[in-house]
Symmetry: C2
Amino acid sequence: MTASRTARERVRAELTREIIEIARRQLATEGAGGLSLRAVAREMGMVSSAIYRYFPSRDDLLTTLIIDGYNALGEAVERADAATPEGDFPGRWTAVCHAVRDWALAHPHEYALLYGSPVPGYQAPQDTIGPRVRDLVVFGGILAAAQRAGALGPAAALPEAGPALAGEAEASLADLMPGVPGDVLLRALSAWTSLYGWVSFEVFGQFQGAFQDNRLVFDHSVKVLGAMMGLTRSG
Amino acid sequence: MTASRTARERVRAELTREIIEIARRQLATEGAGGLSLRAVAREMGMVSSAIYRYFPSRDDLLTTLIIDGYNALGEAVERADAATPEGDFPGRWTAVCHAVRDWALAHPHEYALLYGSPVPGYQAPQDTIGPRVRDLVVFGGILAAAQRAGALGPAAALPEAGPALAGEAEASLADLMPGVPGDVLLRALSAWTSLYGWVSFEVFGQFQGAFQDNRLVFDHSVKVLGAMMGLTRSG
DNA sequence: GCTCGTCAAGAGCGGTGCTCTCGTTTTCTG
DNA sequence: CAGAAAACGAGAGCACCGCTCTTGACGAGC
């Protein structure tokens, strides 16, 4: 890539890359909190203090891993979206969702680093806000394109679950919500995950003042989800 | 409460309570990973090794905090539900959602302990599965009651956002999704949080084999959300 | 009154992030 | 090409961590 002016710079870039690689591997086995510069140094046959020539602190290494993570997730999402026909907006949305899930399941610890509990004492620097929204940008692009194409209308009739799926939902949740048909159970599941997804975003700082009054927006979302489930009053 | 047979047992119960209290306070300032038995001991004027007479390991103290957390959240949800008229099912759902959000915002570190990244190396024992589903039990009760009362129909027309709310949504997300009306943006936000809520549940082990084929259920949820947003194909 | 279990204290083990110094090696400059 | 300057690895050291083991004091029950 770079013409690597001096030999020193070349070996420096190589070692930096190796540190990141080992750190990511260690992240996968020990978790975000268990990331240890000493262990990285040990695995490289270095002495611990030498690592600090490459990353001034553990947090800087963490920042690099976070940025790499957001970029990897973003790329996966972008690839999934690009592989779907442009006018198939429901398909593009579905593809994006599966891309997120597949990536997260393949890299659970990196996902935890991005969307789990914030690392105590760690403050994400400004460099992360670009890569952080790559998935959102894709999502926004789909919606905006659908709007331009006139393919974004009022809420459509929600698709019904097949009998197999409805049966599995009933089998899993029958003791918790007896008598509720599987179709409703599946919509309820979406509402439930939306609730905790919102709360996690807000508590873990993913919103960062996106709205003036989070509570108001949340309240409306909740009511939308209630209607989606089909809840009505009874006399 | 207990007749506290011996003085020794009484002081032991008191000290145990004090340890938990200090640990919870420490959780709020240092985060879940920064929970330190030594620091707890220091704050109590004890020597570190003495703590192990009360909690055999750091993980046991953590388990206690987790169970207490689930119970606190569960109680808050139960209270919110009980305070709403029985037949007002949309209101009960809304109350539950706000209870979850309010509790989480008031106790962010405890929420992180429950729904954030799993603590590395920590395996939750069986004792946690009871308190863990208290909120879900409430939610299930609402749905089941609505079903019995005949108040659980097909998805209702989604409520429209007022102009103020729609305007705020447009202001916040206009650069990301230009041209999309605020009403759709708000529904899209629910879909987005539902996606990440699902993935977080699955990655962080909250599902624990609830379904035979997570991917199938997920795929259906995603399509429901797509329809809720109003996405359709364009020629 | 004596035994036995409970307890706090202390030392110690191996681990962590991070700092500082020291001698070497590489690069840049005169 | 020689010398100054920068970069580097190694090592010692600081304060902290979870956890274990031993020791000596204390109180409850026989």
